[in-house]
Subunit: 294 residues, 2 copies
């Protein structure tokens, strides 16, 4: 029998927990809203205790909202650091989970977690250099370079890159509390809702919102391509579910690059280059399981 692993997708609004060994082999899963650390992590621990009464778990992976301390040499390794989310700052996810369950635990950013899931079982299968960008309430990105999840000084925060903003076409000043009109400040679900006064999913396909959204996302994606030379870009998150948006971004990215990155994948097969996630809403928790398997 294959070994079982635990996965936690620790999101800002909900937690998703699962036990299994891959997308075809999930033996249990649950989800609940993110409230206080004590209550939320308590529920996760209860869930895995229940699973472990039947079968042992070899390890648990956690793909979490951040910012996180992922430096294994740091005394704060495993911690959610400076989040404004009430009560969560300095919560050591790794220590709490592995301590309570007596099972080794590993931590990654939510987006690197989803990237790892997609690389193992989804839209980036087998690729050593790729990006996973999620466009939801906020914008976040992760991925691999040279076959390893992207880390460095801390972890990527590519949702916050600066992109051209023509105030004549779009007088909205941006809503990022740190950078005002960075990509997240202009093109996140929160930015769309604030600019137009209603949530993205309620704006019709012919609304002016979508041309702007396409432009900002395409500039961001073009910058990621020029910086990292990824072999594929996966665009996930709630906002990307809008019909036509992915297709529009593909067209605009190709226009912006204008033949400069001279690869047939971009000039002729961009539909295979900028893609939707294959694992959907399970990418994060499956990535957490893949992390546990490492």
């Amino acid at each position: 029998m294959a070994k079982l692993y635990g996965g936690i997708e620790a999101g800002g609004t909900k937690f998703l927990c699962a036990a299994g060994a891959g997308p075809e082999n999930i033996v249990a899963k649950t989800q609940f809203p993110t409230t206080t650390p004590a209550e939320t992590l308590g529920k996760a621990i209860d869930f895995f205790r229940g699973v472990m009464r039947e079968t042992p778990l070899a390890a648990i992976g956690i793909a979490s909202f951040g910012p996180l301390d992922l430096d294994k040499d740091s005394p704060a390794y495993g911690t959610v650091t400076t989040t404004p989310k009430p009560g969560w700052a300095d919560t050591n996810l790794v220590k709490i989970i592995s301590g309570a369950l007596n099972v080794p635990a590993a931590l990654e950013t939510d987006v690197n977690g989803a990237a790892l899931g997609e690389q193992r079982w989804g839209a980036a299968r087998g690729l050593d250099t790729f990006i996973y960008l999620t466009v939801g309430t906020g914008i976040g990105g992760g991925g691999m370079s040279n076959g390893q999840l992207m880390h460095g000084l801390t972890h990527p925060e590519m949702g916050h890159i600066f992109v051209p903003h023509d105030l004549k076409k779009d007088p909205f000043p941006g809503c990022c509390p740190f950078h005002r009109d960075c990509l997240e400040g202009l093109a996140s679900g929160a930015a769309v809702a604030k600019r137009w006064g209603k949530p993205a999913e309620l704006l019709p396909a012919d609304h002016a919102a979508w041309k702007l959204e396409t432009g900002y996302l395409a500039a961001g994606v073009a910058n990621l391509i020029l910086t990292l030379s990824p072999k594929r870009i996966i665009l996930g998150g709630g906002v990307m579910k809008k019909a036509g948006l992915l297709e529009g971004v593909r067209v605009r990215v190709r226009e912006l690059l204008n033949g400069y990155v001279n690869s047939p994948v971009i000039t002729e097969k961009i539909d295979e280059y900028i893609v939707a996630p294959a694992l959907g809403d399970m990418a994060g928790v499956l990535g957490a399981i893949a992390l546990a398997q490492q």
Copy 2:
């Protein structure tokens, strides 16, 4: 006795060739203008033939202008691909050099070459994730992620990322033939010269050029930090030699990030984080030697 290696920095205007084993151990070097492939590569071959009459070379590394085909599985591996430089398109540097000298040869981009030199002996010594950006006639960048030089679909072209451009403050439309007002189109030496009608080095320190230049470079550097989370950024190239520019970029990058990347290296020690190259004009050819040693 240490083995000797050859290094070629193949630049768009000049070639620099050296034989040695490191910065303290260069036994011969030469440089000459880049003309036709036959003449230029002929001179390089003659130089190394001369060296090899005294001592054998174990391998030769080439750090070249691009774009390059660096895919070892590609039939065109080792080639300068679509350059507009007359005569150089489809020139197979690896085959020509290794064939003529009967020595193994390896190829990298000029900027990845310089990055490798700085990582081996210079300002990025021992770092596994960092960026080397050169601001000269053009803007180019390379570096390492997870301990390996950055590659992917092709190689990074981070000099061409899109950054905010306020046409009210700077009506210059940009001069990149592919992207108009990308970073290179706004902030390269060529852009500065075209915008102000004279070369960057002739513009006094209090000229309006430098405030604009600082802003564009800082936006570009901030984007690279947010995307890759490098442990250090090296800013080289002729334009960066302007007194005060590096210092100005540091200040502006910290303002732009606004505490979001919450690392003391950025908030308190940015002088150690955004730095000048340590190897100066020898970074590229030393990187080529380091490449040969691999």
